[in-house]
Amino acid sequence: MALIELSGIERVFHLGDSEVHALAALDLSIEAGEYVAVMGPSGSGKSTLLNLLGLLDRPNAGTYRLEGRDITTLSPDEQAKVRSERIGFVFQSFHLVPRLTAAENIALPMTLAGIPPRERAERVAQALRDYGLENRADHRPDQLSGGQRQRVAIARATIMRPAMILADEPTGNLDRATGDEVVRLLEELNGRGVTLVVVTHDQGLGARARRQIMMEDGHLKRDSGASGHRNAEAAGNPS
């Protein structure tokens, strides 16, 4: 059973009178533990796809099965629970809460999930060590460098031990060296079995993934690692 199974996904935005098909007739399957790079020109639907995978958005048509369960029919609160337990996000602009310290930002998903303070403290301490942030624990985001902020964001994304990490241009706001460092951290997570889906503009970064997906105008243009017949079909049907 695939971790993610999308079939016949449509996502239409209405801008005044015109309709934008951000995603059209999209079929995609991703196995647990895969490392997938989503690439393509700006406006091709990469972010829309990632938001859909992360249950931040609902498709207008089609089904989304996550770990065999049809997700699109769940209530908003049930979807929130799935996000809390199974999905970690890493954003281009970090999305840290400015008034909270690094440690509090990392703990936020656990706080929201109602995990007791003692367990939170232990897991945050471990995460701070893992990501080399021990002496930044009490700093607020504006006191951290870009690379440190993204490390806090990754620590936050992994603190609930999710099945998959969704990263939308995680290196977009970072220089080359810190960007590589962040990618290395994400790849380490993938090495420990976490499914990793990264949206990127960067050819070099995309090439490091074991599987590349090319998007164009809301369609899947090319899928390098088409595993299973449905993806093969998608790959052979670029229109």
Binding site: A80, F89, H95, V97, P109, G114
Partner: protein, 402 residues
């Protein structure tokens, strides 16, 4: 999310934007302070009047000459009969009523009082020994008027504290002879100072036996008869019997007015309570305005923090958690505002009491409870809408909006 965490999250969110928070706290505190101060003023006025009336004596029935209840001139009685004097014998006759405990006749006039070359004008009250008890007065020095035949006035006087000070200064007053009109009287007592009060100012009073006063003023009529009923319940009976006795002594003519202190007091009490209530109502409107301000502040907070709400949703917060966090924040703003306002209001009432010591400006308990309750309730009610709006936001839209 755990309650303690929600609390901390809301508190940090509130303190994270000091200007916004200070503004709504200020609005709420002004509302509550207004309730406390205004009701303290209203209730203080009521209490002041009630106290003043009580200090005149309790269970009092007051007889005044003349028909009209307000003491005004009544042409009907003026034509049909010459108004009859209210005399000391009338007063003595009232004592026959079983409902009457004691009474004091009162004749009042102005006269000059002098001692050792110092001279001033003073209000002279002619009365009897019972006056002290009926009016609940206290002596600072000496004795009060002697108990004697009401028609035989000894040449003695009891003086108010201010008169004593002006005539005698540091010298002892008791036993000295003063001149009142063309009489020489011995000072036997000095009244305790009471300060400014409703009606007569006893500090500037000279009290002499009623027969003496009538002789000085060359008049037989009394200004008032102060009748004390046996008990509160006996007041109506005392009033009826007093009227009956006077009527029988005045050839069946009802040419006096009898008022009870209770009736006057009850009217004032009702009037001033209504005033306090009205003032509290006005203050409550300012609380509602403060509530609306808290709502606006929270709506702005929701707009400003849309991105944050989106993030919380992305991190798995259900709608309930977000609703609760924003509601808690609104509740905090109004709670702190209410407490600050309570402090300010009490300080204001305290300041009023400092400047006007005779004025008991204490906010009544019902007003304090209602004020705090209204503040918290409006804060919560007006906090619900922004909280619901925040919780309903679409995660992706909220997250992408900056």
């Amino acid at each position: 999310m755990r309650l303690a965490d929600t609390f901390r999250f809301a508190r940090d969110a509130a303190t994270g934007n000091p200007l916004r928070t200070a503004l709504s706290v200020l609005a709420m505190s002004i509302g509550v302070a207004a309730v406390v101060v205004l009701t303290a003023l209203g209730d203080g006025a009521r209490r002041y009047v009630v106290d003043q009336f009580s200090s005149l004596g309790t269970n009092l029935v007051i007889v005044l000459p003349g028909r009209s209840g307000t003491g005004g001139f009544n042409p009907a009685t003026a034509i049909t009969s010459t108004p009859r004097d209210l005399t000391v014998d009338d007063a003595a006759a009232i004592l026959r009523s079983p409902a009457v405990k004691r009474l004091a006749p009162l004749a009042v006039g102005l006269s000059e009082i002098s001692y050792g070359g110092r001279l001033r004008e003073a209000t002279v009250a002619g009365t009897t020994a019972e006056f002290l008890e009926v009016r609940r007065m206290d002596l600072a020095q000496g004795r009060f008027l002697p108990r004697e035949d009401w028609n035989r006035g000894s040449s003695v006087a009891v003086i108010g504290s201010k008169i004593r000070e002006e005539l005698f200064g540091p010298e002892p007053a008791i036993g000295q002879l003063v001149r009142l009109g063309d009489r020489r009287l011995r000072v036997v007592g000095v009244l305790k100072s009471t300060g400014q009060g409703l009606g007569m100012n006893t500090d500037e009073l000279v009290i002499v036996p009623v027969a003496l006063a009538q002789a000085i003023f060359n008049s037989n009529t009394l200004f008032r008869i102060l009748v004390e009923a046996k008990s509160r319940e006996a007041i109506p009976q005392a009033k009826d019997q007093t009227l009956e006795i006077i009527k029988s002594r005045h050839q069946g003519e009802e040419d006096v007015t009898v008022i009870t202190q209770d009736a006057v007091l009850a009217t004032f009490d009702k009037l001033l309570s209504a005033l306090t209530l009205g003032v509290a109502g006005i203050a409550a409107i300012s609380l509602a305005v403060a509530g609306i301000l808290v709502m606006n502040v929270m709506l702005v907070a929701v707009t400003q923090r849309t991105g944050e709400i989106g993030l919380l949703k992305a991190l798995g917060a259900p709608a309930r958690t977000i609703r609760l966090a924003f509601l808690m924040e609104a509740a905090m703003l109004s709670t702190v505002g209410a407490l600050v306002g309570y402090g300010l209001g009490q300080a204001g009432a305290f300041a009023i009491r400092q400047f006007f010591p005779v004025f008991p400006a204490y906010a009544p308990q019902w007003a304090v409870i209602a004020g705090l309750g209204t503040a918290l309730a409006t804060g919560l009610i007006f906090g619900v809408m922004p909280a619901r709006r925040a919780a309903r936001l679409d995660p992706v839209e909220a997250l992408m909006r900056r």
